[in-house]
């Protein structure tokens, strides 16, 4: 419920929901070293070693891991940085 006198703009919430829907998936490959992938996750995502290791193991065991969900611009930036480190990352919504 909105407070009296407040008019919600559906376009704003729609736009926010659209932007929030973007995710970054990192895919497994047989060449990148596990410790290197952990390092890249720490560097690019800013997560600690424990979280980075958890994500790396998800990539290794499941074949992929959704490492980020949020604004499109940020998702694109993260995917590009993963590529610059030699990891295969894709964006999707």
């Amino acid at each position: 419920m909105t407070s009296p006198g407040t008019i919600s703009d559906p376009r704003v919430s729609d736009a926010a929901a659209y932007d929030r829907a973007w995710s970054v998936v990192v895919w497994d490959d047989p060449v990148n070293l596990m410790d290197y992938v952990v390092f890249v996750f720490q560097t690019v995502l800013g997560v600690d070693a424990r979280k980075a290791t958890k994500l790396m193991l998800e990539v290794h065991n499941e074949g992929k891991s959704a490492v980020f969900s949020g604004l499109r611009e940020r998702a694109e930036s993260i995917a590009a940085r993963m590529h610059s480190h030699g990891l295969w990352a894709t964006v999707s919504r």
């Binding site: 490959d29 047989p30 060449v31 990148n32 070293l33 410790d35 290197y36 390092f39 560097t43 694109e76 995917a79 590009a80 590529h83 610059s84 480190h85 030699g86 295969w88 990352a89 894709t90 964006v91 999707s92 919504r93």
Partner: protein
């Protein structure tokens, strides 16, 4: 192989090892010169697989910066090997990325991506895969120093 100093990281390799590593820039420069080079494909993987338009848009957006960074990384590697100079942490990251890029290109050309993890069983048969494995060792050594696990100045 790498040692951490107060002001950065220094590379300590034999002349033979330096000789191998100094071939990385020319290896990477060769990527894409031949049609159908798997090394090119592995360095230019899709950024979006669910929407070709988004993929094209993204590639156009990031490709120039990506190539520029790759060239900078190669220059760092070349300089550090030539001068045996101290690398800053950022330069060490660039060195690491170039090592990884070289591993990916060699592995792709040797069919390792199609083969899966079993490629490691062919290291003794395929010299290029032996180089991939050795570069992985170098990479791990540098990672250890960057992570503070080893190579610390006493």
């Amino acid at each position: 192989m790498f040692r951490r100093l107060d002001d950065g990281i220094v590379i300590e390799v034999t002349d033979q090892e330096a000789g191998f590593l100094s071939q990385i820039p020319s290896l990477l420069d060769s990527v894409g010169h031949e049609h159908g080079d798997p090394g090119y494909s592995v360095l230019h993987r899709p950024l979006c697989i669910s929407d070709a338009n988004v993929d094209e848009e993204l590639r156009a957006l990031v490709s120039q910066e990506l190539e520029s960074q790759r060239h900078t990384d190669r220059s760092v590697l070349e300089r550090c090997l030539r001068e045996r100079s101290v690398m800053t942490r950022d330069e060490a990251h660039g060195f690491l990325r170039s090592l990884n890029e070289a591993r990916l290109v060699l592995a792709a050309r040797a069919g390792a991506f199609e083969e899966g993890p079993a490629w490691e069983n062919r290291i003794d048969e395929d010299p290029s895969l032996a180089v991939v494995a050795w570069l992985g060792y170098v990479q791990s050594e540098l990672l250890s120093v960057l992570n503070g696990d080893a190579g610390t100045k006493p």
